[in-house]
């Protein structure tokens, strides 16, 4: 199977050490994590990880099962880029003098959807969000004008067909949860019996 980018979404308890427990599932298999974001979810006490790796679906499915096996992990999903809406945020620091002098810079920033976050006498910080190519593009545009510093966030992704996690969490809290919570992730729903 061909390798491609996969977005892995993990809902977890907020527990010290869990980040390591999840990270070593990748490092043990010598798989590089392209991007990792972890932050509180919309539900109190539940954290959401967004992990991006480039692998075949077969490998990703096995990794997800290993992650979901961890005691403090509630649920894991994986999606291709086509299945998610995703963004990365980037900050660019450039000299204010250069911006002020060269009108073209302002036009370029506007064309790339950047907005100023901080304007000081000595430097200005711009921000833009978008896909990797878009934020990369602005780097190459600003490079000739003396880009001082650049930083990019990890990827965050919204799952297109997700109905959210609130109702699922209530099921998890029950002693005998409903079937939809513990669905067989590996089951090919289209076929009654697995094909080899």
């Amino acid at each position: 199977m061909e390798k491609q980018e996969f977005n892995i979404t993990v809902y977890t308890e907020n527990q010290i050490g869990l980040l390591n427990r999840i990270a070593i599932i990748f490092t043990r298999r010598k798989i590089n994590i392209d991007s990792l974001n972890t932050s509180p979810s919309e539900i109190e006490s539940i954290h959401r990880f967004n992990i991006v790796i480039t692998e075949s679906e077969d490998v990703v499915r096995k990794l997800c099962r290993q992650i979901e096996k961890q005691v403090e992990v509630l649920k894991v999903y994986y999606h291709t880029n086509a299945d998610v809406i995703w963004q990365e945020l980037a900050l660019y620091k450039v000299s204010t003098d250069v911006i002020a002098e060269k009108v073209s810079v302002e036009r370029l920033l506007r064309e790339n959807g950047a907005r100023a976050v901080v304007i000081r006498k000595d430097y200005t910080v711009f921000e833009t969000t978008g896909h990797r190519e878009e934020t990369d593009n602005l780097i190459s545009i600003l490079q000739p004008f003396g880009l001082i510093e650049f930083v990019r966030s990890a990827r965050v992704a919204i799952i297109k067909d997700s109905e959210g996690f609130n109702s699922k969490l209530r099921e998890f809290e029950r002693l005998e949860p409903g079937e939809d919570v513990i669905e067989n992730e590996y089951l090919n729903q289209g076929q009654k019996v697995f094909s080899m």
């Binding site: 977890t12 308890e13 907020n14 527990q15 010290i16 050490g17 869990l18 980040l19 390591n20 427990r21 070593i24 043990r28 006490s45 954290h47 499915r61 096995k62 099962r65 290993q66 979901e68 096996k69 005691v71 403090e72 992990v73 509630l74 969490l169 998890f172 809290e173 002693l175 949860p177 079937e179 513990i182 067989n184 992730e185 590996y186 089951l187 009654k192 019996v193 697995f194 094909s195 080899m196």
Partner: protein
């Protein structure tokens, strides 16, 4: 991220421990973290602890001084010995093994045992002491980052820095260790939390963690599909593993096998789930397993895998493994389904529940021709390998004949604990096992030095049974300090050293695959009988066949521990063998 409350619901308060009883009368009873820990162990039904004290766990040992009558603490000679003993105890008793160790080196010495327990799904709760919380991260004396070191080799681990957490954390630890696919749990408790007094409000065992699903829901449609495949099969084959034993599903499994009439073979850890001499038990799978089960894996039309995980030592070359067969995989761990071998029907669930459902739907079958295929392979294997191994004509003894003679004395009722290497393969191939929980060995990790301490624990887990440790001359020297534990705690185990004066399994590989370049496998040993004598343990060394039967008899009849060293052929090989990188059907008889 901040630490958070442990989530448990639908709880019930149990009051077995004395203090727990008092706590009902006066809820505001003040206990130290150490006392709360020991109360928790009593309520969890712990009777034996294997451990070794040290600076950072001293408050727990101080509390233990007053609990001596309720908790039997076995002082081991090394923490690795302690955890292997805990494993042996868990494997024979079916209960959770409990191990104490101090911080730093005490805790790092547990790592091999944790890895072993993790890969062999053995339920353990290990308690390690840790430096005071305010010293964490300062490179304090005997401080090690135990949580991060043990994360890859534990099912769950947690550091306690406040005594009030102890009852909930211990409850969670036991629940996680024993439920679902069992495994080792490590709880690291800082010294301040051990000392700290708090208002103890009793102990509540845990039966639910919202983020943890020990048992997947059984899907009747898969049972249905599996039954259909089995009923249509002409050459079905059952392979089972330790899951049957861990799930206490031996009876359900036996009923399933007997109704189906299907030949069944076992992985090394599955041995004994049904008796060795059961007519449908066709033998052992894998690298040194039996001829028929390996070859016919690549001939069967439906392969029914129950509570096993398709380890590479079982499958050989994966892309040539059972490709012709439809695979039904029963397992409690969803991560095992399709991990190594693609399943046609995944029967996700606890086999104690799924097997009876399957049994009900399958038809009774007569598979005479198919059974005859197994019999023909057995005949060939007896002729080429087994007969000479068990009835050698050379002057020197073989490992196989020792096991054969032992079978006659034990009648298959003893617990057989093995180490790792040639003797392990021979013992597992030839030992008769009538009962479940009789074969204690390091299967997944292959830990040399496992057997002696595991046998100690096995005896505490099954006091009424004979426990026989069969160990090689190499492995015995890895943990022989535990003879001290045998001496002090008067552990009635029988030790057989099969001494071939080589690290035999590596030598075998060097002979077969490295042109007999015997690189560092020529191992010298001390006078084992004299070593045993130094610990006050009786023993004998024999090298003549004529002495074998009387010596084994003397060993079995002796009171207390006994060590029998048997000098065996130096350069004997274990066959059959599936060489690494070969398919199971390419198994060699010589």
């Amino acid at each position: 991220m901040k630490s958070q409350k442990i989530n448990t619901v639908e709880t019930q308060t149990v009051t077995i421990g004395e203090i727990a009883e008092q706590s009902v009368k006066s809820p505001a009873i003040e206990l130290s973290g150490s006392q709360a820990l020991l109360e928790a162990l009593i309520i969890e039904g712990v009777d034996t602890i294997f451990g070794y004290p040290g600076g950072a766990i001293m408050p727990i040992y101080d509390a233990l001084y007053d609990y001596n009558e309720k908790l039997n603490h076995i002082l081991v000679r090394h923490e690795q010995g302690g955890i292997h003993a805990g494993q042996g105890y868990a494997r024979t008793s079916g209960k959770v093994g409990v191990v104490f160790a101090t911080s730093g080196p005490g805790a790092t010495n547990l790592v091999t045992g944790l890895a072993d327990a993790q890969i062999d799904s053995t339920p353990l709760v290990c308690i390690t002491g840790q430096v005071f919380a305010h010293l964490l991260g300062t490179d304090a004396f005997q401080e090690t980052d135990v949580i991060n070191i043990t994360t890859p080799v534990t099912k769950w681990n947690y550091q306690v820095t406040d005594a009030t957490e102890i009852p909930e954390v211990i409850a969670k630890a036991f629940y996680i260790a024993k439920s679902g696919r069992p495994g080792p749990v490590l709880i690291d408790i800082t010294k301040n939390a051990q000392i700290q007094k708090f208002n103890y409000e009793g102990y509540t065992p845990c039966n639910h963690i919202r983020s943890y699903r020990p048992k997947p829901i059984v899907r009747p449609q898969y049972i249905q599909q599996a039954a259909e495949l089995i009923n249509q099969a002409k050459k079905p084959f059952i392979i089972w593993g330790q899951g049957v034993i861990l799930g206490s599903a031996e009876q359900e499994f036996k009923t399933f096998v007997e109704k189906s009439g299907i030949p069944a073979a076992w992985t090394i850890l599955g041995a004994g789930a049904i008796p060795t001499d059961h007519p449908l038990n066709v033998g052992m799978l894998g690298m040194h397993g039996n001829y028929g089960p390996n070859v016919l894996t690549n001939e069967c039309d439906v392969l029914i895998a129950i509570g096993m995980r398709f380890d590479d030592r079982v499958t050989g070359r994966l892309d040539k493994y059972a490709k012709q067969a439809k695979v039904i995989h029963l397992d409690i761990d969803p991560a095992e389904i399709d991990k190594n071998v693609k399943s046609t029907v995944p029967v996700w669930g606890d086999c104690k529940e799924t097997l009876p459902m399957l049994t009900e739907l399958i038809e009774r079958k007569v598979l005479t021709e198919w059974h005859d295929r197994f019999k023909e392979f057995t005949r060939q294997e007896i002729e080429a390998v087994i007969h000479d191994e068990l009835n050698p004509t050379s002057d020197e003894m073989t490992m196989g004949e020792v096991i054969k003679q032992l079978n006659e004395l034990t009648k298959g009722d003893a617990v057989i604990v093995t180490d790792v290497g040639q003797h392990q393969m021979v013992a597992c191939r030839y030992a008769n096992l009538n009962k479940t929980r009789s074969n204690i060995t390091s299967g997944g990790l292959g830990t040399m030095g496992f057997a002696l301490p595991a046998a100690i624990g096995a005896k505490f887990g099954a006091q009424e049974r004979d426990v026989i440790a069969i160990i090689g001359d190499g492995g015995f020297q890895m943990t022989l300090q535990e003879l001290g534990t045998v001496m002090q705690s008067k552990v009635d185990i029988k030790i057989i050293i099969l001494n071939n004066r080589f690290l035999g399994m590596v030598r075998q590989w060097q002979e077969l695959f490295n042109e007999r370049r015997y690189s560092f496998v020529d191992i010298q040993s001390p006078d084992f009988v004299a070593v045993a004598a130094a610990y006050g343990i009786g023993g004998k060394c024999i090298s003549d066949r004529a002495d074998l039967q009387p010596a084994l008899k003397e060993m079995m009849e002796s009171k207390g521990a006994y060590l029998l060293e048997v000098m065996v052929t130096k350069e004997n090989n274990v066959f059959p063998m599936v060489p690494q990188g070969c398919s199971v059907s390419e198994i060699r008889l010589k």
